[in-house]
Amino acid sequence: MYAQSLFGVIHAFVKNKAQAEDVLQEVMVKIWQKIDTYDASKGRFYTWIVNIARNAAIDKYRSKAYKKERENLSTNNFVDVIEGSYNLGKLTNAIGIKAFKEKLKPKCIKIIDLLFYKGFTHKEAAENLSIPLGTLKTRNRACINELRTLLDIK
C-alpha cells in the first residue's frame, strides 16, 4: 500500500533506516488514530497521510543540525540519500531509483525533492531556486509529465 512510499518520504528526512522505521510506525499509528479527522472533501487521502509522515519526520528531527540542513538542502535530495545508504541492487521495485536518476533531469529531481519530499510551499521553493512562481509551476508540471511518460501513466 502506501507504507513503502511514506517510508521513502520519511527516509529522505531521517536518512537512517532504523530510525525511519520507528517514525513510520508512529505515523501508521497516528493515521489509525486520526482517521476520523480526515475529510475527503478537503483533499486527497494520500496527500493527507504524506503530510502526517512529513510532519512526524520533521518533529522527530527538529534539532538545530536538522534545521540548518533544511536551509541548505541543496546538498541532499531524495535520490542522493538513497544512493548514499544502499546498494541499489537490493531495491525490489520494478523501476529502480537508478532509472529515475538516469532519466529524470537533475532540475526535476531538485524540484520534486523540495516540493514533495521536503514539503516546501511553492513560494518557498521558488525563492530557493530563484525562479518566478509561474516558472516553478510549469517546470514542475513538465517534470511530472516526464515522470508519467517514464512510468507509462496516461
Binding site: 517510508f7 510506525q25 483533499g43 494520500y46 532509472a99 514533495f116 516546501f120 509551476k137 501513466i153
Partner: protein, 260 residues
C-alpha cells in the same frame, strides 16, 4: 480559463504534494467535482508520485508491518486487560508503592551524598589555604636565602649588653641595597605588652634611628625579621620597648648591640 489551461497551470501537482494553501486546495476540490478530467489528472499525478516514492525508498521488511500491526493491536487491547483482572490492579499498586519507597531511599542517598560533597569541599578549601600559606612561606624563605647569600650582605653580631649578657642576635646588612634582616633567635621571649625595637645607629654623634619592631615575636618560628632599610647604619641595637615602639631607645633595656 478552460479546464485544459487549468490543468496545464501546474496547480494540480502542487495540490497532490500538499503545498497549496487551504484556499487554493478548496478551489482545486471544487474543480475536481465539476470536471471529471481534472479529477482524472489528479489521480494520474498521484499515481506517478506514489510510484516514484515507492521506488525511491529503501526496502521495507515485512517484519516492520508486523510491528506496526502489533502496536495498533496493543493500543486496542491494553485497556481491557487492566480493567478485567484485579490482580493487575494489585500489581500496579505494589509497583507504585515500591517506586515511592525507592524514590525515598534514593532521595536520602542523594542528600547524604550532597552532605559528603560539602564536607569534602570544605576540606579541600582548607587544604588549599594551607597550601597557599606554605607556598608563601617558601617564597619568603627563597627571598631570605637570596638576600643572605648576596655578596654585599654582611653578618653583624649583636652581643648581649650588661644585664642581658645571655642575649645575642645577628643583623644581616646589605650595604648595597641597605636592606636589613634581624635574626633574633638569641633573644628571650618579650614580656606581655612589650616589643623589641631595632635601631640603626650613627656613632659620631650618637644618633639612633628606628628601623622597625620585631612584631609577633612568638609566632615567628624562624625568628628572622625583615625591618626597614637603614641608609646610614654604623651599628645596630635592639631594645625592649612598650608595644608600638618608642621614639628614642630606652637605653636601660638595650639587649644587644653590634658595630657594622
Amino acid at each position: 480559463m478552460s479546464t485544459q489551461e487549468y490543468i496545464d497551470s501546474g496547480i494540480l501537482e502542487l495540490y497532490v504534494y500538499g503545498s497549496l494553501s487551504a484556499e487554493e486546495e478548496k478551489e482545486v476540490n471544487e474543480m475536481m467535482t465539476k470536471h471529471p478530467e481534472v479529477k482524472k489528472e489528479v489521480e494520474a499525478i498521484e499515481e506517478a508520485i506514489i510510484r516514484l516514492s515507492n521506488s525511491a525508498s529503501p526496502y521495507l521488511p515485512s517484519v516492520n508491518y508486523e510491528r506496526i500491526k502489533q502496536n495498533l493491536f496493543k493500543k486496542e487491547t491494553k485497556v481491557r486487560e487492566l480493567s478485567k483482572t484485579s490482580a493487575m490492579t494489585y500489581i500496579g499498586w505494589a509497583a507504585a508503592i515500591l517506586l515511592l519507597i525507592a524514590s525515598g531511599v534514593l532521595y536520602q542517598q542523594y542528600n547524604s551524598t550532597q552532605n559528603e560533597i560539602q564536607v569534602v569541599n570544605q576540606e579541600n578549601e582548607k587544604l588549599e589555604k594551607e597550601n597557599t600559606h606554605l607556598e608563601e612561606v617558601q617564597d619568603s624563605y627563597a627571598t631570605i636565602m637570596t638576600f643572605l647569600s648576596d655578596e654585599n650582605t654582611e653578618i653583624i653580631k649583636l652581643d648581649g649588653q650588661e644585664n642581658f649578657s645571655q642575649a645575642y642576635a645577628k643583623a644581616y646588612y646589605n650595604k648595597d641595597s641597605k636592606e636589613v634582616m634581624i635574626d633574633a633567635k638569641g633573644l628571650p621571649k618579650p614580656p606581655e605588652g612589650m616589643v623589641y625595637q631595632v635601631w640603626s645607629l650613627k656613632l659620631d654623634p650618637l644618633t639612633p634611628t628606628s628601623v622597625g619592631l620585631l612584631e609577633e615575636f612568638t609566632d615567628n618560628d624562624s625568628k628572622l625579621f625583615r625591618v626597614a632599610q637603614a641608609p646610614t647604619a654604623e651599628a645596630f641595637g635592639i631594645t625592649l620597648e612598650p608595644a608600638g615602639g618608642s621614639k628614642t631607645p630606652t637605653l636601660e633595656k638595650l639587649y644587644t648591640l653590634g658595630k657594622v
